[in-house]
Symmetry: C2
């Protein structure tokens, strides 16, 4: 197993990607290819031995680059080179903390989507429920069709089953109420498609779920368009930050409180970390034909390590195969692309 790491992506590159990759090489027993400026990577490489190799790439995609053209214009960027290596079989997965938009476009153009999948989706796993909850899509596709949501439901379901170990994952459609009549046209149409797929036994659709049902673990997979998913995720992030600020106010309110807070500090910080959406690890780009994991832009060594571990699990599991085998059930006949033996 070889994981290709974009050493130049993210706010803390190249130090965090390099150190996180070395840790993964040591602790997970995987081979690593670091892609980026050799001399800059070299500064942080110490005693990693033969399992870490470097592929030199001179350019870096920054947040200022236009995501839709970045990997095409900067063919010698660490991200484009990493994706090209994945495409040509020189590794089993790519991990990058670089621009989400550029990685999405690059993965779609270079590595390509699974045949039959219309759009790749960002599918972070939220720390809720028994196994975690897959939120799909959370930002890749702002305008969606009901068919996209159907595909997200299948892909999220396969991910929850194969990676999170969730048997028969419960799929919920994020809406503004639980009744089937709730939602805009998109949700109403998607509801019907998800219900049909559920009747056929291909997914386990539990109906509409509301915003407060996601973190309660009512569903294992929460399906939504990228606009709503993005607002959902950032609303949650904002509320946590707000609540933690208020809590800090309580902790510092009086000497009595300060003493009590000191006793709680260790456990509290641990809990706070568990709620930090920046620390939920990498986000899978589902629908791409090989495993690509987006690590958070602000990833430190630990976060990169965790994203690599996730990439290993992704590469080992049969998610992409299962997606590829089932695309015929994820397409609308009206779109003229269904080919079956019947």
């Amino acid at each position: 197993m070889r994981i290709i790491v974009d050493a130049m992506g993210g706010d803390n590159a190249p130090e965090a990607p390099v150190r996180g990759a070395m840790k993964a090489a040591r602790e997970l027993g995987v081979d690593i290819t670091l892609v980026g400026r050799r001399e800059e990577i070299g500064k942080y490489l110490d005693g990693a031995g033969r399992v870490v190799t470097i592929t030199d790439a001179r350019e870096v995609i920054t947040m200022e680059d236009d995501p839709s053209t970045a990997t095409r214009r900067k063919k010698d960027s660490s991200m484009a080179v990493a994706l090209t290596m994945l495409k040509s079989g020189e590794g089993d997965a790519v991990v990058s903390a670089g621009s989400t938009g550029a990685l999405l476009t690059g993965a779609t153009l270079i590595v390509k989507r699974v045949r039959g999948i219309r759009r790749a989706a960002l599918a972070p796993v939220l720390p809720a429920g028994e196994h975690g909850v897959v939120l799909i899509d959370c930002g890749a596709n702002v305008e969606c069709t009901p068919e996209y949501l159907l595909q997200f439901a299948f892909m999220g379901s396969f991910y929850a089953k194969n990676i999170l170990g969730c048997e028969n994952p419960k799929v919920g459609l994020l809406s503004n109420g639980t009744e089937p009549t709730k939602g805009a046209e998109l949700q109403k149409e998607a509801f019907k498609l998800l219900q049909e797929a559920s009747v056929e036994g291909r997914i386990n659709f539990i109906g509409n779920i509301e915003g407060n049902d996601v973190m309660s673990g009512k569903a294992d997979v929460a399906v939504t368009d990228g606009f709503t998913g993005n607002v959902f995720l950032k609303a949650s992030e904002g509320m946590i930050k707000f609540a933690m600020g208020k809590l800090k106010g309580v902790f510092y309110k009086s000497t009595k409180n300060k003493l009590a807070a000191a006793a709680l500090k260790g456990d509290f910080m641990e809990m706070k970390d568990s709620l930090d959406v920046n620390k939920i690890g990498g986000t899978a780009l589902l629908g791409i034909s090989r495993p690509v994991i987006k690590a958070h832009g602000s990833s430190n060594e630990e976060a990169i390590f965790s994203a690599i571990r996730q990439a290993v699990a992704f590469a080992r599991a049969g998610v992409i195969d299962e997606i590829a085998k089932n695309t015929e059930y994820m397409r609308l006949p009206s779109e003229g692309a269904v080919k079956t033996e019947e």
Copy 2:
């Protein structure tokens, strides 16, 4: 000042509305009309004196009633009677903890919208920033046009100014990124309209805001469609509940922690209440020609009291007048309804 209270609306009716109204009569010096079944209301009335009167209404709108027809079919319901009294000037505002959908439809059909306003919107005030943040719309209108969002921006802005005491309120458009190009078609088109209104000096548009910007108080008014607003609010609610559950885990983890938690209990519970979206008081129905306040369905006496206080402020302030005076700036010429002197 007379506030008309739907005594039969909400999970804790009629006790909570009656007791909350009596408290408001005593402490706020306002006259109250309680609408509902006289004998049931009578059970909880004690010593309220002349300031509380009862208007008998025999029917009750329940959560099982179809919201779109409830106030028409149940003309003798407490909600329909309360709204009819408001329309005919027998009071200055209505407060109801009954079905949101029925109240919206009822207010629109009976009390009517401000002339020129296309849709009424739900505008809760979130406990963020210096003055609170108005989130508009948060569930009334699932499918919106850019023009609706323009109207929400004006209405939210007038509310923030007149009720929250916020000078020149900053208006943000909720999107999936801060750049003007972010969002679906709806947001992109609305962005242009809001920008034009801002250039003309009619609102203070600060551009797109993201989900995590709302609770940070970046804007005083967060404008969005009802679908996204609903998901936003419920996502926030769900995340708070999740975080508080985790925190409880920390508090109970060990004897040391339990002792520390005991010392923090009072201040902690107070903070927890301040984050409870169910306790943020009433939600104004903006765009209706007279003040209507929706109290949360689970309102207790205190929450009803707080909604009545809000109704008093709403009725005293010039929000509705200001909306009515400015409708010509909130309409798109293409929709053929703008009448100006020019």
